[in-house]
């Protein structure tokens, strides 16, 4: 029986080591393949005893150059080579970090969904409150986004086009926030529909058990619409609705401003006036017209005084 090697004390490989190992393996493979191809090629020419041709020499040179580049790349990935090791370690590390955070967020959302499913079952038996859980889901979504993902859109941009990149990132960020706010608003608006439907179901069951359903189905509709109207009247004055409405309006205006900034950037490169250009013009026109009317009034008054 062979002893199994204990792996307890071995450290888990980090991202840069994994990347290095992979790159070494890949270059070794392609180098070996290139070597094999070269030998096959040489063998083929030897066997045919073809005269030496410039094509063969160039092809040989091309293979040699390719294998040399691969050898160079492999040597650069050695631990003692410091030329690219720093950058090579950072990139995989960042990717791993991003993947880790996304994975953790996904797990957290899955846990919330599982919890919701559990409470839904409890609600069906009337043992737990239901109405606030969906609201928490939006709060959770927003929290996860703002805590874990939003910062990637706010990374400082570099280079000549940094301003444009930053505007695009801002637009993407605002778009995500707007989507969440819209989802939450629609969810809040749909709540009275759910409640009134539940209430009608209970009422219908009661009627069936009691005096029976009304002969005219219009009466049932009338009851439902009145109940729905009452639910909306309660909701539309509630602080919850006001908060959701104001959040939606804020996110909507932020998104439009971010979108307009994109349009502004694009329109800089075509001979078309932008909204800002036109607004400046409108303001000047407005002030000019006002001034002209004031002067007309003063002139009229002076004429009347003189006459």
């Amino acid at each position: 029986m062979t002893e199994k090697k204990s792996t307890e004390n071995q450290e888990a490989p980090n991202g840069s080591e994994t990347f290095t190992n992979w790159f070494q393996t890949a270059t070794t493979y392609w180098q070996a393949l290139a070597q094999q191809q070269t030998e096959m090629f040489n063998q083929a020419f030897k066997e045919t005893a073809a005269p030496k041709s410039s094509f063969k020499e160039q092809a040989d040179k091309a293979w040699q150059t390719g294998t040399s580049w691969m050898k160079l790349a492999q040597s650069l990935m050695q631990p003692e080579s410091k030329l690219f090791s720093a950058g090579g370690e950072v990139l995989p590390g960042m990717l791993m970090e991003f993947a880790r955070q996304t994975w953790e967020s996904a797990l957290q959302m899955q846990q919330e969904a599982m919890q919701q499913a559990t409470v839904f079952q409890a609600s069906a038996t009337g043992t737990a409150p239901f109405q606030h859980l969906n609201q928490n889901l939006f709060t959770t979504l927003r929290g996860i986004y703002e805590k874990e993902l939003q910062k990637f859109y706010q990374i400082p941009q570099l280079g000549l086009s940094r301003a444009y990149q930053a505007h695009w990132n801002d637009f993407a960020d605002k778009s995500n926030l707007y989507q969440t706010a819209t989802g939450e608003f629609i969810h809040v608006l749909a709540e009275p529909l759910r409640k009134s439907t539940e209430a009608m179901q209970a009422k219908v069951n009661e009627m069936i058990e009691g005096e029976g359903l009304p002969e005219d189905p219009e009466k049932l509709y009338g009851m439902w619409i009145k109940h729905l109207e009452g639910q909306y009247m309660t909701l539309l004055q509630s602080p919850e609705y006001l908060k959701t409405l104001n959040t939606l309006l804020t996110k909507m205006t932020s998104l439009i401003q971010a979108r307009d900034q994109i349009w502004y950037d694009l329109l800089q490169h075509v001979p078309v006036p932008t909204n800002e250009d036109m607004n400046d013009l409108y303001k000047e026109l407005y002030l000019l017209k006002k001034r002209v009317r004031e002067l007309e009034t003063q002139l009229e008054t002076q004429k009347q005084e003189q006459s």
Partner: protein, 375 residues
């Protein structure tokens, strides 16, 4: 559990009856919808006597002029003044004309982007004042009668306070003047609204946003029940025509000039300056005590947009002693579009104005003089 008392046969019978009715209704409804429908609105003839920028002043002349003082009607900036002339049998304008009242009406038009910097002062001391001057010039009179509707009424209150010497009688209908109330959803919603963000983003507030906001005031009735009612009556040609006219009007929402919207929300809805006589327009304070002419204030008991508490304080705050409140048991636009309430509404205004005709005005009304249509 006891056996449910459910007459399945009866339910199935009812469903079948409903199915047959629906089929017949759809068949007739298709004929109606695919046939000729008269859905014209604002068909009463008028003459445009003044135009400036996007606005025009319309003049409606009665067959026989009985009232000596013309009436200038100022509608709100929200929706269109065509509501007063939706159809011939239910037209406030025609009612006035039939009683011999000359009517001028401001058509605010459709604001464009260049109108975004117009303030309330530009509307009140600018456009309304120039319309008043046009009417005065045409009739060669010192004072005219002024009537305002909803936000237009708020503008008329401001105008009458700033230019009391030009107004003989003031009529306000469903006019918000007190905004410190929770009786209306608009008052609650606008309290914490970031109006600066909206105006800075949009410039003019789009009509679609206004429409969406009004629909959300009562989604059950305005988005579900209303169309169910249409479905139930789509085989009735007259009903369909009236319904379409109302739809045409209600979704015909011009944009609201940005700075006007900003000022109206901040100074009125959020700070309630108007009823406290603290509102300022173009550097001049709007003091309600300057309203010394007779005031008729009409409002609606079931108005969900401008509830009674938003209207009924005005008569207590003005300087005039000749004031009257009239509360009609209807909704915000029921006064104008309900045939039942039109029979109360316009005769009341006409008789109230007739009682307050200036004695020094000529007994026989003078037809207006033609005037230039451009400033």
């Amino acid at each position: 559990m006891s056996n449910p008392k459910l007459d399945v046969e009866l339910i199935l019978k009812r469903l079948d009856e409903e199915r047959l009715k629906s089929q017949e209704r759809v068949r007739k409804g298709s004929e109606v919808l695919l046939g000729t429908l008269d859905t014209t609105i604002a068909s009463t003839p008028f003459e445009t006597v003044y135009e400036e920028d996007r606005i025009r002043l319309k003049y409606y002349r009665p067959e026989k002029i009985k009232a000596s003082t013309p009436l200038l009607v100022v509608y709100a900036l929200i929706n269109r003044e065509t509501m007063l002339d939706l159809q011939p049998e239910r037209s406030v304008v025609r009612s006035f004309l039939e009683s011999g009242q000359e009517v001028y009406m401001i058509d605010w038009g459709y604001p464009s982007a260049k109108d975004r910097y117009l303030t309330i002062g530009d509307h009140v001391n600018g456009y309304i004042d120039r319309c008043v001057e046009t009417v005065r010039r045409r009739h060669q009179i010192d004072k005219i009668n002024l009537m305002g509707i909803c936000m237009g009424g708020s503008f008329c209150v401001m105008y009458a306070a700033l230019h009391p010497t030009k107004i003989q009688n003031l009529v306000t209908t469903v006019t918000p003047t007190n905004f410190d109330t929770d009786a209306g959803l608009l008052h609650i919603w606008t309290r914490d609204m970031d109006v600066d963000a909206l105006v800075d983003t949009y410039g003019n507030i789009p009509g679609d946003i206004m429409n969406t906001g009004f629909l959300l005031l009562n989604p059950a009735r305005l988005m579900i029940d209303k169309y169910r009612g249409f479905w139930s009556n789509m085989d009735n040609k007259a009903f369909v025509e009236n319904f379409v006219r109302m739809e045409k009007w209600i979704f015909d929402s011009p944009a609201v000039p940005g700075e006007t919207f900003r000022q109206f929300i901040k100074d009125c809805y959020q700070n309630n300056l108007l009823i406290r006589s603290k509102l300022e327009l173009d550097g001049h304070r709007v003091d309600l005590k300057n309203i010394t002419m007779p005031l008729l204030n009409i409002f609606a008991k079931f108005d969900h947009l401008v509830p009674p508490p938003a209207c009924d304080q005005l008569t207590r705050e003005v300087g005039s002693q000749d004031v009257e409140d009239v509360c009609l048991e209807t909704g915000h636009i029921g006064i104008y579009v309900s045939s039942r309430f039109q029979k109360l509404f316009t005769p009341k205004i006409v008789s109230w104005l007739a009682q307050r005709e200036l004695s020094e005005q000529p007994e026989e009304a003078t037809p207006p003089q033609p005037s230039a249509t451009k400033p």
